[in-house]
Symmetry: C2
C-alpha cells in the first residue's frame, strides 16, 4: 500500500510510517521491537479478517525481530454494547480459538485480554491528564464513529458514552503499556498513531522519560468484498465466509456470489468487472497464469469459454484447501479449552508484569508515589 | 443548613439528602455506614478548611455509626497542575500532617491516596461505559470550572485536559469503590451525588448488582471570609490564617483584618457590618453573651465603647487557644514522618483490598472475567 502514492519515494514517507514488512526489515530489522495490535472480540472470524489482518500477524510472528502483543479489546465492546454479556463472552472465546486455529502461537506472542490487565486502565487514567479535551471534540475518526453509533437502528446504544469519547486515549494506553514501537494499522488509523506519538512525547518531555514513540506499520492488505459484492464483508450483512466454514458453507457462500447476469450460457461473452468469484480468485488463487487464462476465456465467450459453474468449483476447492486445516484445528481447540484459557491468561499475566514496571517508572518520574519518602 | 428552607419539613427534603449530623442520627444512625469524603492535596490547611470540613470530619469520626474514608485526591491536582511535581508531593504530606494534627485518626479512619489505589482507575474506566457523554457537555459545575481553568492567568494550564472532563465520573468511582453510603458535601456539590446515584443505579439495574446509592450529607459549615474580608479564604489571595500558624502569624493575620475605618477613636460609634474581626469572633468565640456585649459597646461608641485593639487582642487569644495544640501536634508528626507515611499507606492498602472485592463482584456480574470458564 502506498501513502500518497509515495511507496517508492522514501523521502516523502513520514518517518513514523513504515510501508509494509519489507520496509520494516529495511528500516528496523536489526533490533527486536515490541508490536501491539489487536481486535475487538467479534466472535468467529471470516476470510476478511484473515486477509486484512491475520495473515500479516502470522508473518510478524515469524519475524524474529518482532515481539508481538495481540490485544483482545473487550472494553471497546462494552463501550457500545453494554449489557450484552453473553455476546461478549462468546465473542472473546470464538475469536481466540480462531487465532489459535490459524497458527498464532501463545508461546511466541502475548494474547492479552484488555480487561484482565487493570494496568491499562491505570495508564489510561494518567494519560487523560496529558490529552487535551480537543482530542475528543476534533478527532475526525471519532466524529464518524459517533455518527455511526447514533444512527444504529437496533437500539443497542442510542447515546454516546463517555467511554466512547475516551476511546482514542484508551488506545494510546494500549500501545504505550507494552512499550509498543510498531502498530500495524490501516491508513485510516494513522491519526490514532499520531495522537499516541503526541501524548507519549508530551509525557517524555514533561517528566524526562523515554517511552518509545510508536510507528504505524501499514501493510498491503487486499480488501475482501462480501459474497454479495458489497464493499464490506460483515456478519451483520450476512455476506461472509467464516474462516472455519464447513465445506457446505463454503459452497453456499461461493454459489451465492455475484457474477455476470448477462452471461446466460457458457459460450456467451462475459464481464468480470464486478465478478465476485474472480475477485476472490485474484486474492486466494496462487496459479496466476491459469487465472489469467480463465479470465480471458470467460470474457471472450465461444467454444473455449468457461462458465460460472467451473470457476465457482475452482474457488470452492481453493477455499476448502485454505480452510480445512484451520477448521480442523478449531475443532481441536474446542475440545481442549484449557489451552485456549491458558493462552489468554498467560499472555495477560505477562502484560501485567511488564505494565507494572512501566507504571512504576512513570509514577516515580511524575512523583505520584511514596509520598513522604525519598526515592 | 437548610435545603430550600425545608430543614424542618422532612417531607420536602429529597430522600438522598441528609441535613446535618443530627438528621443523620435520626435517619441512619441505627447501622454502620461507609462515608467517603476527601480533599484535593492543597498543602498546609487554614482555618477555612477547619470550619468548612475538618471539624465535621472529627464529629463523623466520633460517631460510631460512620466508617470514614478520607481521600487525598492527588489525581485531581494532576488534572490541572500537571508537571508541578514538587508542589504535589509537598501538598500531600503537608495536608496529611494537618489531618493528623487536628485529630483525624488513621486507626479509626482510612486515609486513602487516590493514586495508590489503581482500583479507582479501573472502576472509573468501567463507569465511563455507563456514563453518557452529556455528563461532560451539560454538567453546570464542570462548565464553571472549565471557565475558571481557561481564565487562569499563571499559564499553569491553558487548555482543558480530557482528565478534567472525566472528573465527575472519576468522583463517582471514588464514592462507589468504598461502597460509600454518605458523602459530606456542600450544597453546590449535590449534582455530583445525583450523578453518582444515576450511574450506580444504571449498573445495578443492568447487571443485578446492589451497590449502595450514596446520600449527600449536608452539614452546617460557616463560610469563613479571608482576613481582608474577601468572601473566600485562599492561599493565592494571601488572606489566610493557617491551622498551624505561629502566634506571630496569628497576630499578623488578625491585625490586618478589615474593621470600621470610620471608627477613628475608641469612643466614636462603630459599624460591624463588614467587620472581619467580629465575623471571626462569631464563629470561633464561645462566650456569646460577652460577644454581644462587645458588639453593642463597639457600635454605640462613647465612654464604655471598645476599640479595634481590644477585640483584636481577644480574637488573637481565641485563635491561639485553638491553634496552639494543633501546632504542637504538627511539630510532633514532622519529627515522626514514619507515622505520617504509615497512615496513608495503611489506609490505601485497606482500600485496595476492599476495592478488589468490589471489582471482582462487578466484573463477574458484567461477565468480563474468566473467559472460557464457568463461574
Amino acid at each position: 500500500m502506498s501513502i500518497n502514492g509515495t511507496k517508492n519515494d522514501e523521502n516523502k514517507t513520514p518517518p513514523h510510517i513504515i510501508d509494509g514488512l519489507d520496509d520494516f526489515n529495511k528500516k528496523i530489522g536489526d533490533k527486536v521491537v515490541n508490536c501491539l495490535t489487536g481486535m475487538r472480540p467479534s466472535g468467529r472470524l471470516h476470510l476478511g479478517h484473515y486477509k486484512g489482518a491475520l495473515e500479516n500477524w502470522i508473518a510478524m510472528q515469524n519475524n524474529p525481530n518482532i515481539k508481538n502483543n495481540f490485544l483482545i479489546a473487550d472494553y471497546q465492546v462494552l463501550g457500545d454494547h453494554l449489557g450484552d454479556t453473553k455476546r461478549l463472552r462468546d465473542s472473546v472465546i470464538d475469536m481466540v480459538i480462531d487465532w489459535l486455529a490459524v497458527g498464532l502461537d501463545p508461546k511466541k506472542s502475548n494474547f492479552i485480554v484488555q480487561s484482565y490487565v487493570p494496568e491499562f486502565a491505570e495508564l489510561f487514567n494518567l494519560l487523560t491528564m496529558f490529552a487535551p479535551y480537543s482530542v475528543a471534540t476534533n478527532n475526525p475518526t471519532l466524529k464518524d464513529e459517533i455518527k455511526k453509533v447514533e444512527g444504529r437502528k437496533d437500539g443497542s446504544n442510542n447515546s454516546i458514552s463517555l467511554g466512547f469519547i475516551n476511546y482514542p486515549v484508551s488506545q494510546v494506553a494500549d500501545i504505550m503499556l507494552p512499550r509498543g514501537e510498531i502498530v500495524p494499522v490501516g491508513e485510516d488509523q494513522v491519526p490514532h498513531i499520531e495522537l499516541a506519538r503526541k501524548i507519549i512525547k508530551k509525557v517524555n518531555t514533561m517528566y524526562e522519560t523515554s517511552f518509545p514513540l510508536p510507528k504505524a506499520l501499514i501493510s498491503e492488505t487486499p480488501r475482501l468484498v462480501g459474497t454479495d459484492g458489497n464493499d464490506k464483508m460483515s456478519k451483520s450483512l450476512g455476506n461472509t465466509i467464516y474462516l472455519t466454514a464447513s465445506l457446505d458453507e463454503i459452497k453456499k457462500g461461493v454459489n451465492s456470489m455475484y457474477t455476470d447476469p448477462n452471461k446466460t450460457s457458457i459460450s456467451s461473452p462475459g464481464n468480470i468487472e464486478n465478478h465476485v468469484v474472480f475477485k476472490y480468485l485474484d486474492i486466494f488463487y496462487q496459479d496466476k497464469e491459469h487465472l489469467e487464462d480463465l479470465k480471458k476465456r470467460y470474457i471472450a465467450g465461444g467454444e473455449n469459454s468457461v462458465g460460472d459453474g467451473e470457476i465457482k468449483k475452482l474457488l470452492i476447492e481453493v477455499l476448502e484447501k485454505l480452510i480445512a486445516p484451520i477448521r480442523e484445528k478449531r475443532e481441536y481447540y474446542k475440545q481442549n479449552m484449557d489451552l485456549v484459557i491458558e493462552s489468554i491468561e498467560k499472555g495477560s499475566q505477562n502484560m501485567r508484569e511488564e505494565g507494572q514496571k512501566l507504571l512504576e517508572e512513570l509514577k516515580e518520574k511524575m512523583g505520584i508515589t511514596k509520598y513522604g519518602r525519598e526515592f
